[in-house]
Amino acid sequence: MLRKIAVPLGAVLVFLVFWEWLVWVNGWPNYKMASPSDLIPAYAKFWDLFLIYGWQTLWRTVAGLLLAIIVGVAIGMVMGLSKTVRDGLYPLLVGFNAIPKATVVPVVALMFVGAHDMNTILIAFMISFFPIAVSISIGLSTLEPEYRDILRSLGASRFTIFRKIALPKTLPEFFGALKVAVTLAFIGTNLMEIVEPHGKGLGHLFDSGKISADYPLMFAVLIALAVLGILLYYVVVLLEQIFAGWAERAET
C-alpha cells in the first residue's frame, strides 16, 4: 500500500526536480518556460481564484461527463443490440467525432448565447461521449452466443439476459472508455473557457495570465488542470475496482 503511493509520488518529485534543472541549466526566462519554483508565488498570490475557478471547471466537467455517460451508454446499447442501427449510426458518429471540437465551440457559443454553463457542459459532453458509445456497442455486439443461450434456454427474457450477462460483461470495457473520456472532458471544458472567454473556470484564469503577461500563472493553471485530471481519473479507477474488480487478475 505504501509502495503504491510512494512510487508515483517519487516519480512526480523526480519530474519536478528535472524540470527545475532543465530551466536553470538553459537559463530560460519565465516567459519561455516557467520553473516549478516560479509557480509557488503564483499559487500563493491567486489561491482564492484557483479554488473558485477550479471548482467551476471541475463541476462543469463532471456534469459533461455524466451527460456523456448517459447518452454514450444509450447510443452504445442500441448500436450493440441492433446491427441495422450500428450500420446506420457508425459513419455519423465517426464523422461527428472527426470534427475538431475547437471549431464547434464558436458555433455552440452562438447557438446558446450567454448560457455559459450549458455551453461548456455541452462541449465537454460532445468531446467525451464517443469512446463510451463505441466501447459499450463493441462489448454488447461481441457477446458470445453461448452466454445468451445458457439463459435463453431456460426461458429468460431479453431484459434478464441483458441485466445478468450483457451489462456486467461490458463493465470493464466501459470503465476503460471512461478513463479516456475523463481527460477528454477536461479538454472540452477548457476549450470553451479559453476560446470563448466568459469569465469562469480555470480557462479564464489562464486567459487572464496571458493578457497580463503573467507567465508563471499560465503554467500554474496548466498544473492545476493536470491535478484535477489526475483526481477525477483516480475516482474512476476507484469505481472500477468496486464495480468491475473481478476483471483484474490476481498477480502471480
Binding site: D149, I150, G155, W246, A247, R249
Partner: protein
C-alpha cells in the same frame, strides 16, 4: 451387433404417438435449412431420434453435419422448418426450464463466484427453494464432481477441467429432465476428459436424467451412452443406431477398462466404419487407396 435401422414412419401412426408420449426426447422427421447468401443450406434432413426416459444417447457424425443445430432445436432456441421436436410428450415451441445445457466452452460468468455461477439457473427458473436450500443444492453438486472447497473461487482461478465441472453443475442445478451436452469435453486433455466421464457416470447414478451428448470422440460415446446415433453427412439424417452393450467388468458400473474389451473394440470398429460412410468414402472402395 445391432443392425442399422432407419426409423421409418408412415402407416403406423399409433406407434409414433405412443413413442412421443413415453420418450423424453423425440425428434420426428425434422428437416432444417439455414438461409445463406447463396441460397438455402440444408443441414438436417428427415432426422428422427428418440431418447427414452433416463437414457443416455450420444450423437456422432462428420464435422459440420448439423449436430449443434440439433441441440438448439431440442433446447427450443430454434424451430425446425419441418417435423416436430417433442420433450416429455409436449411439442417444443420455445425454450423450457426443464432443459439443462453445457457447451464445449464452459461459459462461466467471470464476475461471479463458482457457487453463484452454479446458482444462476435457479435465479431464472421458478422454484420454491430458499436461498440456503439453493446453496445447499449447488454445494452438493459441486462436491459430487470434486469441487468442494472451490465455491468462493472465481472461474479465472480454476483450470479448464474444473470450469467444465462447474458448468455441468450449473446445467443440472435446477433438476432438468433433459441434459443437452454439446461436446462439453472436447477441449480438455485426455486425462481430464476421462476424469469427467467418470464424474458424468457418478452424477447420473446420483440423480437420473435423460441426456443427449454431441461428441466427436467415439470412445467417449460408447463409454457414456446407452445408444449411439451416427449422423450422415450434411444434410444429416440418422444413418445408424448402435445399442451400447457393455458388461461392466467390475459388476456395478462402467470403468475405463471396459473400453479395452473385445466387445468395445468391435463397437468402435463399427462406429468408425459408419463415420467413414457418413464422410462419403465407401469403406475400402478404391483398392490400395487410403
Amino acid at each position: 451387433m445391432v443392425a442399422a435401422k432407419r426409423p421409418s414412419f408412415g402407416p403406423c401412426t399409433l406407434s409414433i404417438l405412443s413413442s412421443i408420449l413415453t420418450d423424453t426426447i423425440a425428434l420426428d422427421s425434422v428437416t432444417h435449412a439455414y438461409d445463406t447468401e447463396s441460397g438455402k443450406l440444408p443441414v438436417l434432413n428427415d432426422l428422427s431420434i428418440k431418447v427414452a426416459q433416463n437414457a443416455f444417447t450420444a450423437v456422432v457424425g462428420p464435422s459440420g453435419c448439423g449436430k449443434s443445430t440439433l441441440t438448439r432445436l431440442i433446447a427450443g432456441l430454434m424451430r425446425p422448418d419441418e417435423g416436430t421436436v417433442w420433450l416429455a410428450g409436449e411439442q417444443v415451441r420455445s425454450p423450457r426450464s426443464t432443459v439443462g445445457m453445457a457447451f464445449q466452452n464452459p461459459v462461466l460468468l467471470e464476475w461471479r463466484t463458482i457457487l453463484d455461477n452454479v446458482l444462476l439457473p435457479l435465479e431464472i427458473v421458478k422454484n420454491s427453494l430458499s436461498r440456503s436450500q439453493r446453496e445447499a443444492r449447488a454445494k452438493d453438486l459441486l462436491a459430487l464432481v470434486g469441487l468442494a472447497g472451490f465455491e468462493d473461487k472465481r472461474p479465472s482461478e480454476l483450470s479448464g477441467g474444473m470450469r467444465q465441472r462447474a458448468s455441468l453443475c450449473r446445467a443440472l442445478v435446477h433438476n432438468p429432465d433433459v441434459l443437452i451436452l454439446d461436446e462439453p469435453f472436447g477441449a480438455l486433455d485426455a486425462f481430464t476428459r476421462e476424469d469427467l466421464w467418470q464424474a458424468m457416470h457418478d452424477l447420473r447414478r446420483q440423480e437420473p436424467f435423460t441426456a443427449l451428448l454431441i461428441t466427436h470422440d467415439l470412445r467417449e460415446s460408447i463409454f457414456l451412452a446407452d445408444e449411439v446415433v451416427v449422423l450422415s453427412g450434411r444434410p444429416a439424417t440418422a444413418q445408424y443406431v448402435l445399442s451400447v452393450d457393455i458388461d461392466p467388468t467390475n459388476g456395478s458400473h462402467r470403468t475405463l477398462d471396459d473400453l479395452y474389451t473385445p466387445g468395445a473394440s468391435e463397437m468402435l470398429a463399427t462406429l468408425r466404419e459408419q463415420i467413414r460412410i457418413a464422410q462419403g468414402d465407401a469403406p475400402k472402395a478404391a483398392p490400395g487407396g487410403n
